[in-house]
Amino acid sequence: MSKEDTLARMEKAIIEGNKQEAEALAREALEEKMDLLEVIEKGYVRGIQTVGDLWERGEYFLPELITSAECMKAAMSILQPELEKAQIQAQSKGKVVIGTVEGDIHDIGKNLVASMLAANGFNVIDLGADVNLERFVEKAEEENADFICLSALLTTTMLGQKRVIEVLKEKNLTPRIKVLVGGAPVNQKWADDIGADGYGENAMKAVKVAQNISKG
């Protein structure tokens, strides 16, 4: 099978959410000593980009996005150790520190955003739920992160998003570190009011916002 055929199958595996195929092809790529960066960029990444396009056209929905993101993760977990061994850095769209703010233990939405961001080439550091507000800033500084993504599902806890931005400002970390906010009570107006750099109405929109900011 030609290299192009293998790359096309990788793309298709992600589009169709075929985890077994995505994993088998990743192993094949290692055995065949394929150029792993090419495998990622011209195979799997193309697949996840197509999935994003299908979602935008209303042909794919959240379950398909999740399934494809899981496939991407599975393939990457096979390729990653080899990339590290060879000291090859896959192209990252940016480093993201993500979590649900203090006082709030909702995590499924935040996990979906984390998963989608990772599948779309972002390096994601997930702090979990009920995260101390200062911790977001500390971790972002420590990791030299590009983004902080803050999830809040309650009107009482969404104030934490505002506080994180205030701390970033106090430390002169804005506008270098961009803040994206999301969660059920959050909307664009709230994001604008508190000075967030972006608002993700859902997981895929969060990815699009982050991608647009990354592109500058």
Binding site: P63, I66, K73, G103, D107, I108, N111, L154, T156, N202
Partner: protein, 199 residues
């Protein structure tokens, strides 16, 4: 006077597949559901028998015995209720997430949300019936955090109802644990017109 809090148990929770599909992100009616997703929904639904523990607790107060919040005004009586499906479904969802089974976790979480809502609907019906038995007109159901009833009013609901007796507690940020819980009020009016006002 407030009635002694009573529990509502043995509620049977049924699911509307269309609602579940909507909750997991499907937005159109005409779409054809992929088989693996269908199978997953069926498999997660099967788990529910042992994951759901639906129960509610309610009390009915005379208006004078409430905290006289403006949203209670003109009501003869106010029914307060806390409903839950318990903690087990959330624990299973967490386990699925830790196993990277995100889609299954989302499906189960959505089933949990729908189940909690269903418990609230059924409890609402029971309370509305009690209003009618008192020759009063029940309003719609309203929860703290919606319309003009601030989320902080959860504290009032929990000061009146012993949430712990059905395993529900309130955090400092007014979040109920288990998360798949619903609290609400229904105002009982003498006047039918008042009961249909959107307060």
């Amino acid at each position: 006077m407030a009635s002694v809090p009573e529990k509502i148990e043995n509620l049977k929770v049924e699911f509307d597949e269309k609602r579940i599909l909507h909750l997991i992100g499907y937005k159109t009616k005409s779409m054809e559901l992929k088989n693996p997703v269908k199978i997953m929904i069926a498999e997660e639904t099967q788990k529910l028998d042992h994951l759901l523990h639906p129960v509610s607790i309610y009390t009915i107060l005379d208006y004078e015995d409430t905290n006289r919040h403006p949203i209670f005004s003109d009501a003869e009586k106010v029914a307060l209720c806390i409903c839950t499906i318990g903690l087990e479904l959330e624990a299973e969802t967490k386990k699925l997430m830790s196993e990277n089974e995100m889609l299954r976790a989302l499906i189960l979480d959505s089933l949990g949300s729908e189940a909690a809502e269903e418990v609230a609907i059924q409890s609402d019906r029971i309370l509305a019936e009690k209003a009618r038995e008192m020759n009063l007109w029940p309003s719609k159901r309203f929860s703290p955090g919606y319309r003009k009833w601030d989320i902080q009013e959860q504290r009032y609901v929990f000061s009146i109802l012993p949430g712990e007796s059905i395993g529900v507690r309130l955090t400092e940020s007014c979040m109920m644990i288990p998360r798949k819980s619903v609290s609400f009020r229904i105002n009982f009016y003498k006047d039918k017109e008042l009961s249909t006002r959107k307060k």
